[in-house]
Amino acid sequence: MRIQSILYTLVLVFTVSWLSSQQIAKSEKGSFLLKNGTLVTVTNGTFKSDLLLKDGKIAEIGESLSAGDGVTVVDCSDKIVYPGFIDGGTQLGLQEIGAVSLTSDHNEIGSFIPHMEALTAVNPNGVAIPVTRVNGITSAIVMPTGGRFPGTAALINLHGYTPQQMFAGYKAVVMNYPSSGKRGRRDRRSEEDIKKDSEKARKELNESWKKVKLYANIDAASKSSNQEKSDYNPAMDAMVDVANGDQQIMIEVNKKADIEAAIKWVQENNLNAVLTGVKEGYRVADELAEAGIPVIVGPVLSIPSRLSDKYDVAYANPGLMAKAGVKVALRTNSYENVRNLPYDAGFAATYGMGTEEALKAITINPAEIFGVADQLGSLEVGKQGNIFVADGDPFETRTRINHLFIGEYKVPLESRHTLLYDEFLNRDPGVEKK
């Protein structure tokens, strides 16, 4: 029996390591001088300049910088240098294969489980990570999905061999606001039943929130009197900073009436919130702007939520909110095609947001929302070296990414997809037998 179970474990281990084997080249660690590129800084305009990456940071921006000892020069003539893109919501590294449920690590059982840490379950060697990187995405939110409080999301950089090496300094508790919409085309509930269900869910939410606040008060009291807490309650512990407004809460909410209710709920409870999804945000854009609550929208490439909606509402939504003064970041909400983030931004740009604002929505805006704008989101001295170099507008599908840096590493632009191309473009042998 014992041998059997060891064998079984070995088989599992081999299967899992085979599933996630990378076989891509190692990254190159060092300092790099990016010569003669056009820098799209996002925060300080666009101009021709050199950029020195040292110890993983942007050390200098200026003309005619000289490469010191041990600095690798990267010729960026006729190239454009961008800050790495940030995806505001994914399951990257938390899901390997869609239909194989045992490769899914974002949807734990339970409704009130904010202590489930997405960062714990990120597979640094997930095959989709290099696939994502080669399109200029260098950071992403990884977030749990499921019940009312499915866990805690984290921001990661897309390079590293442990979750902690990838962690980019931001976490938020995720909440799914009670929906008064249909779950999908197969939802057969009547309008009245949907209304009843959502009212019940809101009532339950308010009841659990009373408990959260009570727990936070007890926690504060016991801390100030140096008393030990009696019970082990990790779920409640995970909520304390949120209840006090010290930690951000990501609230998934999409329908107009629900967004309005969520804004009110956030204000009543004095929370530091960001709304995610926000499909009908354009219908309440002024209220969102007035409330000063930022949003993470996407995927932009989506169908309308109502049959009566104009065909392009999902494309136009981010731009309409931005115009009203809402701080907008974008997300793909994907695990395997996070690489399409530049195209989500491109569609938002095309349908009213404009290229400049769409670029902000995948760089400096998410960095500011997540409180990491001192590290990420623009080309500025002192920030982390998350940078890519392209031969054109990265929103265009014809554009090539030529170089990519994350921290102190120059990351090879390889992935399963490029390697299969290299192997199979001119397959040898061809049709002949052996």
Binding site: L19, E96, I97, G98, A99, V100, A128, S179, S180, G181, K182, R183, G184, R185, D187, E191, N254, K255, E280, P299, L301, S302, I303, P304, S305, R306, L307, S308, D309, K310, Y311, D312, N333, Y335, E336, N337, R339, N340, Y343, G346, F347, A349, T350, Y351, D393, F395, E396, T397, R398, R400, R416, H417, T418, L420, Y421, F424, L425, R427, G430, V431
Partner: protein, 434 residues
């Protein structure tokens, strides 16, 4: 099936556009004249009387209406998942002219789609090539006149899961799937031989009429083009072997994510391929995929198209085609062929649509920018000379039937994956099962 009405055919002159013909280069400042639903003339300085609608396409791009070789928009049901072989059912019987997704597809420049049976059965139902005559209320007016018959086949996980795992009958493996085809074809041949015998006086009593077997016989006679849902290289080779044994060669492999591995064999057999631009990892059989699939197939001489299989993707096939430039450097014309002439060849309608040539159907898409640019927005979609989408006359609510029991059209908490319908009606609790 049976008698079908004709949709309206119209006259329109598109002036001064950049005309992308697909088969005869790109022509600047050129006019396209459509008369009675057919392209009558392509040239400079064409003029017409006041009775003909004129579109000023100055600064715009004029291309053939986009064709989607794999779609489920505009139909009420997708799968007759009751047996591994259901060759007797017709998608043409379930066209829904009130389907708003047809209008949304028009808003993406798509004039023709292949309304397909789902992938639950090894041999599914017969499909229908439809023209997007949105606004017509008779479903038969959507059926494309003289389009060849097509039928859906499916390999791999979907039929294995539905019949083997679900119902405990063959096929549960790819071995079983091969034998389902061999048995079905043998029965079709037997049936045909029995009729031949009777018709030549060799038998007193006629065989019992059987539509399923008759359809199989029609496939063996080359009267029906096979469109086969497939992913893995081994199963693709298997089906070509089986078809080779029966002398059948009219086959388009659908999805065919591992087509790139057997591109030389596909080319040698004369099979075509209709692929996703970048979908992968949503199930195990697409884990070893590459977005370079379309480019590898094209460069190996396989007639390749990019399809949607989705109510969302069908809205931006021009963007999906653009990805073949990122992943494999296809030229503009090669990329646009993936969504015009090549799918037309796969559906056997390339004598009527797929390029701008005198005598072909007046199916045209007009864009404000080059259609492969992310900044392209479809302006007009013309089907048989009738403007079915005009961005300047585009009311928000395009429903043709209104549910009187619904106070306001319901909000659907969908994600993009909910619009993939290949397995609809089978395993409703599983999404993402293309």
């Amino acid at each position: 099936m049976g008698m079908s009405l004709s949709a309206q055919q119209g006259d329109v002159l598109i002036k001064n556009g950049t005309v992308i013909t697909i088969t005869d280069g790109v022509k600047e400042n050129t006019d396209v004249l459509i008369r009675n639903g057919k392209i009558k003339q392509i040239g400079e300085g064409l003029s017409v009387g006041d009775d003909v609608k004129v579109i000023d396409a100055d600064g715009m791009y004029v291309m053939p209406g986009i064709i989607d070789a794999h779609s489920h928009v505009g139909i009420d049901v997708v799968n007759e998942a009751t047996a591994p072989v259901t060759a007797e059912v017709f998608v043409g019987d379930v066209i829904n002219p009130y389907s708003v997704p047809i209008y949304r597809a028009l808003a993406g420049g798509v004039s023709v789609s292949h309304a397909m049976h789902g992938s639950a059965n090894a041999i599914g139902g017969q499909c229908e090539t439809i023209k997007h005559h949105y606004g017509e209320e008779d479903p038969t007016t959507y059926q494309m006149k003289d389009a060849p018959r097509t039928i859906k086949f499916a390999l791999g996980e979907n039929p294995m899961r539905v019949h083997g795992e679900g119902n405990g009958i063959q096929p549960k493996t790819r071995m079983g799937i091969e034998q389902v085809f061999r048995k079905a074809f043998a029965e079709g041949q037997e049936y045909q031989n029995a009729w031949k015998k009777y018709n030549s006086g060799g038998a007193q009593v006629a065989p019992e009429y059987n539509l399923r077997k008759q359809t199989l016989a029609d496939i063996l006679n080359g009267d029906i083009i096979i469109h086969c849902h497939s992913y893995r290289a081994d199963e693709i080779l298997m089906l070509m072997d089986v078809l080779g044994d029966y002398g059948v060669n009219k086959i388009c492999f659908q999805h065919v994510n591992e087509g790139f591995k057997v591109a030389p064999e596909l080319a040698a057999f004369g099979a075509t391929a209709s692929v996703f631009a970048d979908w992968w990892a949503y199930k195990f059989e697409v884990y070893y995929s590459t977005a370079y699939n379309a480019a590898i197939l094209t460069k190996n001489g396989v007639v390749t198209s990019i399809n949607s299989d989705s109510g969302e993707l069908i809205r931006h096939l021009y963007h999906e085609a653009g990805k073949s430039q990122k992943y494999g450097d296809l030229t503009d014309n090669e990329a646009l062929r993936l969504i015009t002439l090549n799918p037309a060849i796969q559906l056997g309608i390339d004598d009527k649509v797929g390029s701008l040539e005198v005598g072909k159907d007046g199916d045209v898409a007009v864009f404000n920018n080059h259609p492969l640019s992310i900044y392209a927005v479809p302006q007009y979609t013309i089907v048989d000379g009738i403007v079915r989408f005009d961005i300047n006359e585009d009311p928000d609510d395009m429903r043709l039937d209104i549910n009187p029991d619904e106070s306001f059209p319901a909000f659907h908490e969908l994600n993009a994956h909910d619009e993939h319908r290949c397995m609809e009606g089978v395993y409703e609790f599983l999404f993402h099962q293309h």
